[in-house]
Symmetry: C2
Subunit: 396 residues, 2 copies
């Protein structure tokens, strides 16, 4: 039992303890969120890996050390003997600034929701089968841009780019700017070149889970993507939440993924149950726009990691991969405006009466999530948010 005086429904009690990088007194270092404060781990644990502006050094220590640190933090928060020392190292959140939690090595974005892929297929290829023939055989993914991954709260400037025109492409601000509500996974322990990571080894490599908004310019995307995939439609910004929830906090959230038909190849077999029962919520200017359920995702993060390395590619500390847009079967569970407004044809009506096909300048998108935690609690992921700024003045 903790000595912390948190409300019983706190999403950030001892069952959670997510890690992040906070700045106080001009110095960035690693902390753990406790209630509405951040605990300075450099002050209470004395491991130099925490006196860093990213989680990378700590993540590189491996699963046993992750577990050990979590046990020690839990000890500090339950043993009254430590209360004074811990309280002295707690910084109320309003007094700190949160940063990108890790230094990004490679970034891969998957496409793991069957509902999302089916909807997008119907919209982009209305005359064909909605799912491509490979979709149920592998988690489809592609590499994104690491250098434009930004912390939650960073404003996102509407991108300029080429769009399909009647006779020739036109150039200007994207008119179909979108969010994508996703879940991200960061690699703590890399793998050597040539040695695939098996699905059973997922928790030896992946440190934790966070939220991602993979901003997308749909008009740029539909013009540029054939034949080599999305590029500038995605590379202008990808926002991530500041708190990385360690896998150990997600034991109660583990969930059987839906049955796969046809059976995937053996290297993609689920040996452990790595579906996750996360409840996402997307708010647009404070209004609920969608509530995507993560539990129905077709491919698990363990399968994504196994697929990504089956060709011998190594992973490194700081690599992260995202699930792709999380969409459920219902309209109000779709994870992006492209689906929610059906390509703009059926604009989304928000509770306050406002209506959106795609994002307007000034719009603020906030994605949050909760999951079952230990002992019947719920744990929170915090939020990833960003506001759209008008495109820069610029001509083609």
């Amino acid at each position: 039992v903790t000595w912390l005086e948190l409300p019983p429904d706190s999403l950030f009690g001892v069952a959670n303890l997510p890690y992040g990088v906070f700045e106080a007194d001009g110095v960035r270092r690693v902390g753990v969120r406790v209630g509405d404060a951040v605990l300075d781990l450099t002050a209470v644990l004395g491991d130099p890996a925490f006196a860093q502006p990213s989680l990378n050094a700590f993540m590189a220590q491996g699963r046993a050390k992750w577990s050990d640190a979590r046990a020690r933090i839990t000890g500090l928060l339950t043993d009254r003997w430590h209360r004074a020392a811990v309280e002295a190292a707690l910084h109320p959140l309003p007094g700190v600034r949160m940063h990108l939690p890790f230094e990004v090595a490679d970034y891969v974005d998957f496409y793991a929701s069957e509902h999302h892929a089916t909807n997008v297929g119907r919209l982009f290829r209305p005359t064909g089968e909605p799912l491509t023939p490979n979709w149920k055989h592998m988690p489809i993914g592609y590499h994104g841009r690491s250098g434009t991954v930004v912390a939650s709260g960073t404003a996102v400037t509407r991108p300029l780019g080429q769009r399909r025109g009647e006779h020739a492409p036109t150039f200007g601000p994207s008119a179909r700017l979108d969010f994508e509500a996703e879940v991200g996974y960061v690699v703590g322990i890399g793998s050597p070149p040539g040695v695939p990571v098996r699905t059973s080894e997922f928790a030896d490599h992946v440190f934790g889970v966070f939220l991602v908004n993979d901003w997308s310019a749909r008009d740029i995307q539909s013009w540029e993507s054939v034949p080599l995939g999305p590029f500038l439609a995605k590379s202008f910004a990808t926002s991530v939440s500041p708190w990385v929830v360690p896998l150990e906090a997600l034991e109660a959230a583990r969930f059987s993924p839906p049955p796969r038909d046809p059976e995937p190849l053996p290297y993609l077999t689920d040996t452990d149950k790595w579906g996750l029962d996360l409840a996402l919520e997307v708010r647009l200017n404070g209004q609920v726009a969608s509530r995507p359920p993560y539990a129905g995702m077709y491919w698990t993060p363990a399968q994504m990691l196994a697929h990504m390395t089956v060709n011998g590619a190594r992973v490194r500390t700081g690599d992260f991969y995202a699930s792709g847009t999380v969409s459920g079967p219902e309209r109000e569970q779709r994870g992006c405006l492209l689906e929610l407004s059906w390509g703009g044809a059926e604009p989304l009506a928000l509770p306050d009466g406002s209506v959106r096909g795609f994002l307007e300048d000034g719009d603020e998108v906030t994605i949050t999530a909760t999951a079952p935690g230990a002992g019947g609690t719920r744990i929170g992921f915090g939020e990833v948010s960003g506001r759209i700024l008008p495109a820069r003045a610029g001509k083609a």
Copy 2:
């Protein structure tokens, strides 16, 4: 006039002076190639940026410092006064080991040869137009995997993966393993978020040029690539040459790119002539397999950088981008086996009588290039080479 006693046709005289990272006595540091030796810049220039295991610190100093260093090195090699000191800092190449020249931030691969894109379009989409409608309006590109970029000489293990099957995909070693002869560009000075790099600013950002072999598994590629582009077909390995030729050494190699029809959008207008007259050569087990000319490439590296940043994406020190396969109009100028063997249908006959559809285990691919240098010289790029190792024992 240099005091160096190099043969007059040396590809590595004072007109070239490419930078690389060499290891001698167990320490990695930056040097410049002079003839068949490497000059230890830490020993002769005393800038701590050279006492680093990558070019990144030096590249981050910017164009004026690049120019200054080149002038100082040229001075050392022309003023006899310095001869003894310089000779003491020269390491014959056989006694050193060359490493990856820079730490890779983001990696983007383009598709800038019209001949290559046309051939690939004919092979992959035999019933449609060979070029997609966007191809002549923008340099098509996608993000590759930074963590699997390897130094020349690193062996490449044949990847395993999924291939299209009659009823269901099959799994196993790629049966259509290929090379791609490309030219790479590394960014020295990054750009701030939201500010595109104009074509006229190319030489303020890009430090230099090198050779790339973008190994490709064509069977994995054709099964996985729709709709999000190539992923595991490319991510197992990308080899780069050890020597980065600075832009200043390439003044005599600058070349007018072919006329573009239709005229591209204004942000892609060529303000300066950044076509490059590089003559590539691909050898397979020592036999000449192809001689791709770079001068005919449709899109220049200045256009690629302008396109990559037009949406506001920043670039960083260590970002590199590659041209895509360099293919000329003639069959013997094609830069990959997919084209040279027409998808395996017309196997390539090498001078020694051997025949290849795709790469076999044990095959060694070496790509070299030369270009016009100052004063009527020719300058060399060195080589990027790699040998294919058999796939690891592995089942699906």
